[in-house]
Amino acid sequence: MTASPLAPPAVRAKARPLGRRADARSRRWRWFAPTMLVAVLVLVVVSVLFGDNFRISPSDLLHWLTGQSGVDPLAKFGINTRLPRALLAVLVGAALAVAGALLQALTRNPLASPDIIGVSQGVVAAVLVFSVIFPNMPYAYVDWIQPICGTVGGIGTAAVIHLATRKLGSAESTQFILIGILVGGILTSLSSLALLFLGSDATRVFGFMSGSLNLKGWSDLRLAAAYLVPGLVLLVLALPRANALQLGDDVALGLGQRLGRDRLLVLGASVLLTAGAVTVVGALSFVGLMAPHMVRRMVGSDLRRLVPASALMGAVIVLVADLAARNIQPQRYLSGLGDAIGFAYLPTGLYLAVLGVPFMISLIWRRS
């Protein structure tokens, strides 16, 4: 048994190098990814063509896209309102879904997501508190101060939770989630307090708290895109590290990871992606939870595939919810209550909640 000490494996068995992957998962990926991409595109087009009581004809859309003149002005107006909103839905859905996937890998708990651990609520609370303290800011300022506020709120929340759980022992992930839930509860209550001061703007505030894409246009889309860039950069750095972290602390250490720094990196990526999305549209819940779960069976837990798959699924989920939000007029269905219902569309977040609650309960139930 005491063979002579050899240098690092001089003997490598003549193994065939792993060729083009013929395994089931790679095969599935090859049709899954393009299918999802097509689904997103189709949903975006449908979102533009339908909504708000009038339809746009596909030919009008085609003319608009190819830059031809002579497009019906109503159609042009419609496209300019709906297209940025649909694209925003894609961005936001993707960002929140990826943030959720990262958190689930980091905490090694499939039930983690930015809205459950309080980061989304932190962003919302920061924005609302700012609106309360500075109620009469000129719109120009609000445009760029507000997202900064929200991002600071999100980062601050994550920092508080991280610091509170850092020294609590080895079972860190569960504590992280529990403290996150508690902090999230505090922040939600704080946000509802804002209603006391912003009561006249109730619809907007509620919309923001549940997540709404109402009245979002090209400038909001640009804003979201800009704020998601740092998140994307961190994502590239964080992804391989999160992959190792989800194998366990000891394994990750053994592979040469620096636990503290890498955990912060993954958390930071998740927070920045969340903040970039939530600060523009509000706290859309359940996307970060649902999307990774729906695709995990298909593509596996390896983040190299899970992240892009979740992004696509997240986009689909938010697009569907937004489609519902824009086309369902509650007043029509609840007309029994007479004129008790006003002319309003419900925020997208509500439809997400309606989808998400039974999904999540069944998920929690099944996994036990």
């Binding site: 001089a10 395994d23 992804l239 000891d250 053994g254 592979l255 040469g256 990871q257």
Partner: protein
């Protein structure tokens, strides 16, 4: 008790340094120090086993040497270089660790798991691509897991799963491998499967093995050298026959037992007879 420490004046520079040398290592957890001032040198190409009762510090010591725990005192040298002078990734290129009872995330294939072992050689950014190189394939082949490449890890049997984790460690292509209780919680046939694999890795590839084992007979059967710990200190160190004596079993493990040679291999095997109760006065 023989203490196989090579003299540092041989001609072969590679053999001059022990694969691992712990000098006065003290390691523990936040509130308490478990091991105090342990000195241990591991020769390259050997299989060393750490044994001891619960709480003796064997796993803690192993983790300290593997830099999974911060040292409270002393230094660890890996192939002659102080670990403190190396970055964590550089250490990972020389030392692979299989921790105790690793948990697998669901929906991860064996291939995806083993690929992670390339991290120290390839670096974070390149890990974004799929690792299809020889090292991963070789690791799978060496552990007999090539047929399971695309199966989910949590769908495997206990023995197969452990072999997949060993393949991960092998993909790191390190000359030294630490294993922390690799057979605990496994069915007996899987335990033997794993131990045979470990033995083969040592004989055919010359990988230095240091492992913590709970089962004393396995320790005797599969190692060149046994180191016994009690209460954070080494109390015995030598070949299995030298260490696993009736006296040690009585003093350290508190059992009355007989030791006889295995009819096939000649290694010592012990038969427990009865417990002796706690020791009257411990220092």
């Amino acid at each position: 008790m023989a203490n196989p420490m090579t003299q540092s004046d041989t001609t072969d520079p590679a053999a001059a340094h022990p694969a691992l040398h712990a000098r006065s290592v003290s390691v523990g957890y936040e509130s308490r120090t478990v091991c105090q001032g342990i000195d241990l040198a591991i020769e390259p190409g050997t299989v060393t086993c750490l044994i001891g009762p619960n709480g003796s510090g064997k796993s803690t010591f192993l983790k300290g040497c593997a830099r999974l725990l911060d040292l409270k005192g002393g230094e660890v040298y890996i192939e002659g270089t102080a670990m403190a002078d190396l970055s964590s990734i550089e250490v990972a290129r020389r030392l692979a660790v299989l921790p105790q009872s690793p948990t697998t995330p669901p929906d991860l294939t064996v291939r995806e798991l083993v690929e992670q072992g390339r991290y120290p050689h390839v670096g974070a950014l390149r890990m974004l691509r799929h690792q299809d190189g020889e090292a991963v394939a070789a690791a799978l082949e060496a552990t007999g897991m090539s047929a399971f490449t695309d199966r989910d890890v949590d769908a495997l049997s206990g023995g197969e799963r452990q072999r997949a984790w060993i393949a991960l460690a092998l993909a790191q292509e390190t000359p030294t491998l630490f294993l922390d209780e690799p057979t605990t919680y496994l069915d007996i046939s899987y335990q033997l499967e794993v131990m045979h694999l470990v033995q083969e890795l040592n004989t055919t590839r010359g990988i230095t093995i240091v492992m913590v084992l709970h089962d004393l007979n396995q320790a005797a059967a599969y190692s060149d050298r046994v180191v016994c710990l009690r209460q954070g200190a080494i109390v015995a160190d030598g070949t299995p026959a030298e260490v696993l004596t009736v006296d040690l079993l009585r003093d350290v493990f508190r059992i009355e037992a007989s030791v006889i040679p295995d009819p096939r291999s000649g290694k010592p095997v012990f038969f427990p007879h009865q417990p002796l109760g706690a020791e009257p006065n411990l220092p």
